[in-house]
């Protein structure tokens, strides 16, 4: 018999944990579960697991697993719920060292997701840009950022710590975080038009960026490796790059020629 389980929240960790608990108590093996999440739920919004009867106690789940699960759940891949339940099942009933078998296929998939989520969150802390507006006579900072996964929740702590005494909002397509110096307020599906069109300091940042480039050493590949084009939309300085690369060679040649002439 297949049990259908629906996760309706994003990213869905608390919900998944509750469902997984019930499923474990009823000893439902991974292959008997169909996991739905918001996007693909059709007619039957109910969750079968409500009707499950507990058959036994749930063994202790190692903390390390919960940490990995909490991270992996932010991945945008809908398969994440099923994968996590399968690993949990195997960990409890098949091999208690599973989390350390880094070359096991399921574990590789999990690590891959965890890594992608961490990377995505790191890039937000790096590439997100605030623009300043005046709001009720005070500085207010607003950012718009498109992450690849559901990673807003994973970076709010960073911004709350670093910009504790600044009022700010971070807008993402699925959710926004607003900080008013004391409380963090989350809002679903914010209006992207709230992102200001300009900022009075951006011009200085562009001026700075343009002038720290050494035209004698363009390395486009190395740059793209760290800063692939998918991130460029978040970063105002990237609009300068094509021209910087185009003129690099010419600028170096001029410099050397000038030096030669003066010898």
């Amino acid at each position: 018999m297949t049990v259908t389980v629906s996760i309706t929240s994003i990213p869905g960790f608390a919900e998944w944990r509750n469902e997984a608990r019930k499923l474990l108590a009823a000893q439902v093996p991974p292959q008997d579960i169909a996991w739905n999440n918001e996007g693909d739920v059709q007619s039957n919004l109910f969750t079968d697991s409500l009707k499950l009867a507990a058959k036994g106690n749930i063994p202790n789940v190692p903390r390390k697993f919960m940490e990995l699960a909490e991270t992996a759940i932010c991945h945008s891949n809908p398969k994440r719920f099923a994968l996590l339940y399968k690993i949990l099942w195997r960990l409890l009933f098949e091999n208690k060292n599973l989390l350390y078998l880094t070359t096991d296929n399921d574990m590789m998939e999990l690590q891959h997701m965890v890594k992608a989520v961490r990377h995505d969150a790191y890039k937000i802390t790096a590439f997100l840009r605030f623009r300043e507006i005046q709001h009720a006579g005070e500085e207010y900072f607003v950012a718009w950022y498109k992450p690849e996964h559901y990673t807003l929740e994973r970076v709010t702590h960073f911004f709350q710590t670093r910009f504790k005494n600044m009022r700010w909002s971070i807008l993402m397509p699925y959710r926004a975080a607003h900080w008013d110096l004391q409380n963090l307020h989350m809002e679903d599906n914010p209006n992207p038009d709230l992102y200001p069109r300009e900022d009075k300091v951006e011009e200085y940042w562009l001026g700075y960026y343009a002038n720290i480039f050494n035209p004698a050493r363009p390395k486009k590949g190395a740059m793209l490796n760290q800063m692939p084009k998918k991130y460029w939309q978040n970063m105002p300085e990237t609009k300068l790059i094509p021209n910087m690369l185009r003129t690099a060679h010419e600028r170096t040649r001029d410099m050397i020629e000038k030096a030669n002439r003066s010898k």
């Binding site: 350390y100 078998l101 880094t102 070359t103 590789m108 790191y122 802390t125 790096a126 590439f127 997100l128 840009r129 605030f130 623009r131 300043e132 500085e139 900072f141 950012a143 960073f158 710590t161 670093r162 910009f163 504790k164 005494n165 600044m166 900022d199 009075k200 300091v201 951006e202 200085y204 940042w205 001026g207 700075y208 960026y209 343009a210 002038n211 720290i212 480039f213 050494n214 004698a216 050493r217 363009p218 390395k219 590949g221 190395a222 740059m223 490796n225 760290q226 800063m227 970063m235 790059i241 910087m244 690369l245 690099a248 410099m255 050397i256 000038k258 030096a259 030669n260 003066s262 010898k263």
Partner: protein, 414 residues
């Protein structure tokens, strides 16, 4: 802010870019306390790269000169007094404002400030210290501050700098006194190392008093010191450069040394070479430096590999070592200790860590290596696992070196 500031920023950012060190080092964690009005944090590891330039470098700090006026005449430097570049000078407030404005927009991790020398070394150093102090004390800035100290400034000012900065650096620039005399006539190697020694004393003092007495000593440059050497401007060979690096790591306890292949600068001095030093030489020096810092190699083992004082440009120094010491291979990945695993060409520090942790639970096989993304062609002659041991002929083959070198090289020259 104004047009004038933008213009200054352009000049003083341009003037600072020839300095290689870009990333901020680790200076522990820090953030504004509960009732603190300040701004900023340090996240622990090395600083975040907030952007990358088209030359592939990480942009982590606002890296500028306070001024590019200079009374000295170092030949390799674009700011030397005899160069006719455009000059500018920031005020203390201007630097503080720019740093904060950039920081609040999440462009940077902090400030990296150096300067040409105006009036006297002490006068210059004092202005730089005022900038750091204003950020820390007046603005409660908890981000990263790196000050490039002026070697001839007084010890008192150097100490002040250490109180407000996370990292201090003094550039050695050229590894020998002869080189310095020719290219930087006003500088002396002993002044530079003396200043480093003095700061080292202060840094260890601050660290030790914290652990011994339980009382927290005032912070003093918790991120340590770093320096930079220019490669290929004077006649110093790799052996000389590396020897002086290993000495600086051991004696002055430097955290990091940057190598910068000499690259032509606008309005160059006539005694400088016209051609840039090959980038691959700089790359090999970094690799040798890493072998020493992260791969548990002894200086002699690295220096042995130099030929006429130079590292082999055609292969990385770790592979070169392995080829000179073929008799220690193949290494059993299921048994060998960490220091031997680190010597296998193709196994980096992270992979070695993964291997050590995995082999506690399972016997490594060839398939595990595939899954760990180990470069199989590179390692196959050097390692054994459960279902693989290399035929002896593989390791003895004369062609081993040729087989293993070309791909990396192509990339480097591309």
């Amino acid at each position: 802010m104004s047009d004038r500031i933008l213009e200054k920023l352009e000049i003083l950012a341009d003037a600072a870019k020839y300095d290689a060190s870009c990333a901020s080092g680790s200076a522990g964690k820090r953030s504004a306390g509960k009732n603190d009005k300040g701004i900023g944090s340090l996240t622990g590891g090395s600083g975040i790269c907030h952007s990358f330039t088209p030359d592939g470098r990480c942009v982590s700090l606002l890296k500028i000169l306070m001024t590019n006026f200079c009374i000295y005449d170092c030949h390799y430097c674009i700011n030397r007094k005899s160069s006719n570049v455009q000059r500018a000078r920031f005020t203390v407030e201007e630097v503080v404002n720019l740093t904060l404005s950039f920081y609040k927009r999440n462009y940077i991790e902090g400030l990296f400030l150096s300067s040409g020398i105006i009036q006297t070394p002490d006068y210059t150093m004092e202005s730089m210290v005022r900038i750091a102090k204003s950020l820390r004390v007046d603005q409660g800035f908890k981000g990263y501050i790196h000050l490039k100290t002026i070697p001839n400034a007084s010890p008192e000012l150097q100490e002040q700098a250490g109180i407000y900065a996370d990292r201090l650096s003094i550039n050695v620039e050229l590894p020998t006194q002869v080189g310095l005399e020719k290219f930087a006539p006003e500088k002396s190697l002993s002044n530079i190392t003396d200043a480093m020694d003095h700061l080292k004393g202060k840094i260890t003092e601050a660290k030790e008093s914290k652990t011994l007495s339980g009382k927290r000593a005032p912070r003093f440059a918790p991120g340590g010191q770093s320096t930079q050497m220019i490669v290929g401007a004077d006649g110093a060979d790799d052996k000389t450069i590396l020897k002086s690096s290993f000495g600086l790591y051991a004696k002055q306890k430097l955290k990091r040394i940057y190598y910068s292949a000499f690259s032509p600068i606008p309005d160059a001095s006539k005694i400088l070479p016209l051609k840039p030093a090959p980038l691959v030489r700089e790359h090999r020096l970094y690799q040798a430096d890493w072998l020493f810092r992260f791969y548990e190699f002894q200086p002699e083992e690295i220096l042995q590999g130099t030929n006429d004082g130079m590292l082999d440009l055609t292969m990385d120094p770790k592979l070169a070592w392995a080829l000179r010491n073929r008799d220690v291979f193949p290494i059993d990945l299921n048994k060998a200790d960490k220091s031997m695993l680190l010597r296998v060409p193709g196994l980096g520090v992270t992979t070695v860590k993964k291997i050590l942790s995995l082999r506690r639970y399972t016997k490594l096989t060839w398939e595990d290596l595939v899954k760990l993304h180990v470069p199989l062609n590179r390692v196959k002659a050097f390692v054994m696992v459960n279902n693989w041991s290399p035929p002896p002929a593989l390791l003895e083959a004369d062609r081993l070196a040729q087989n293993l070198t070309p791909p990396e090289q192509m990339e480097l020259f591309a």
